[in-house]
Symmetry: C2
DNA sequence: CTTTTCTTTTGATCCAGATCAAGACCTGGT
DNA sequence: ACCAGGTCTTGATCTGGATCAAAAGAAAAG
């Protein structure tokens, strides 16, 4: 039972209960009381402007960040100064998970547009998740999902020709947008061609050519940053990578002939 | 390094308290009581023979596995039937983390040699980690480290020429062996050339040529599966990737060898 | 032991995609 | 509006590594 809803200020302050994304960022069945506890440890901060850092490489880790709106990219810098884009992050996603172990951010996070985030101090979250079993479970699942996603990306980078990589990226974006209630087949790329190319391990020119080629094949329609997917099945066929959420049934596994 | 295959029953019943690896697999400061609780939920099972599956792709997830001795590779299969090697796993490492979220293994794990593991039922581990704060914290860190490691591998695959990838792989192996008390500069590859190539996103022939070339440059000495690193600093210079290790500066154990 | 089979090495060729180059297009600043 | 400094597209060339091919070792089987 909630005893009080202290909304004393003119409340720009969105609460978890009212956030349309909490289903994504903390979707386990938390009671109202638990949600309140969570809400109390979360810090809201002014939006991060385009090009601004949410955190930098090497910075001490203290909080995870849940993206409320906008988008960010994360990237590392190599010894030669080259930057390597690790990922692009949409509303409802949690970033910073990679820094828990080392207490230091292994990548930098930069806003691709004006972006608002919830800052979640990790030590508080950790102790809270001891009190709330569902929260602990959810964190394990989120981290596991991140591992699975990264392994999928590794596979894409290791084995696939460029055409497949781009198709795979587009379909993944489409799925993620859909999941959070946006149109699945029409969206804006917030990353530049250069960043996309970097992330997919190819040259910007190649991205450009492929987008043109996909358009010629009637798979998509491109206009600057705006993408419309005309033939999702066709694109998916090209992507044909590890379906991240696939549930292939397992046969009975006792075939261990010694 | 002598390979011991002595597996008798008393050894199979080794307890966490007596396990030389628990520092790696569960290194937080657990009291004796806590260690006992952990010990109680762990199942020991007969060793997995070379080529046998520990778990298969798509199989229902129920347990994590801590590797006690031996080694395994994990891999996924793509829609075209191609297998993609995800990683090679050494004693002291925990595998299966990627399946927590989906409750289904997204990769298969095969023993590369006779391998013994501790099976840790995850639901028990989860509830135990609610009781033991240090255990919860440790699990978060392990998962985070896995994420960081995977991101590092993504970077290697996306940006590096083959020479760097292989050097990076060898140095990473060296570090991991060192961490668990084996010789850092002399070890056996338990994976075939083909598997290594697959994992690093290149052709087996290229691995073969590069090993030869590294040997010609005096960086390593290769004899079949046995590798001896002669010039760690030189190899590291070629690898020059994201330093995975938390705070440790690279050691220059070999003072000077020309 | 010999034969078969699998793994690795070595050599020769080829091509996907990088790089180089140059022009077109946006976007923001004055 | 104009100009300057990005970002994107398009075309021409080049090359790192894949692929193809075949022999040489190891290991396993008879």
């Amino acid at each position: 039972m909630s005893r009080e809803r202290v909304v004393n200020l003119s409340e720009v302050r969105t609460q978890c209960q009212k956030c349309s994304l909490y289903q994504l960022c903390m979707p386990m069945g938390l009671g109202e009381g638990d949600l309140n506890k969570l809400d109390k440890i979360i810090k809201r901060r002014r939006p991060v402007e385009k090009g601004e850092f949410l955190f930098r490489l090497g910075q001490d880790f203290s909080s995870l960040y849940a993206i409320r709106s906008g988008s960010l990219k994360t990237y590392t810098s190599q010894s030669d100064g080259q930057e390597q884009v690790i990922g692009m992050h949409l509303p409802g996603e949690l970033i910073g998970l990679d820094a828990i172990g080392s207490h230091r951010h292994a990548c930098a996070a930069v806003a691709l547009e004006t972006t608002s985030v919830c800052e979640i101090p990790f030590d508080h979250l950790e102790s809270l998740s001891r009190e709330i079993p569902g929260l602990q479970q959810h964190l394990f699942r989120l981290m596991s999902a991140e591992i699975q996603h990264d392994q999928c990306h590794m596979t894409v980078l290791a084995r696939m020709p460029v055409e497949n990589r781009l198709a795979s990226f587009l379909m993944s974006l489409s799925e993620r947008y859909k999941l959070r209630g946006y149109a699945a087949n029409e969206f804006n790329l917030s990353m530049s061609r250069g960043d996309i190319a970097n992330m997919l391990g190819m040259a910007m020119e190649t991205i450009s050519r492929l987008l043109g080629s996909f358009q010629d094949q009637g798979l998509i329609q491109v206009e600057r940053k705006h993408i419309r997917i005309l033939d999702p099945a066709g694109l998916q066929a090209i992507a044909s990578n590890c379906r991240e959420s696939s549930g292939k049934p397992a046969d009975n596994s006792s075939s261990h002939s010694a």
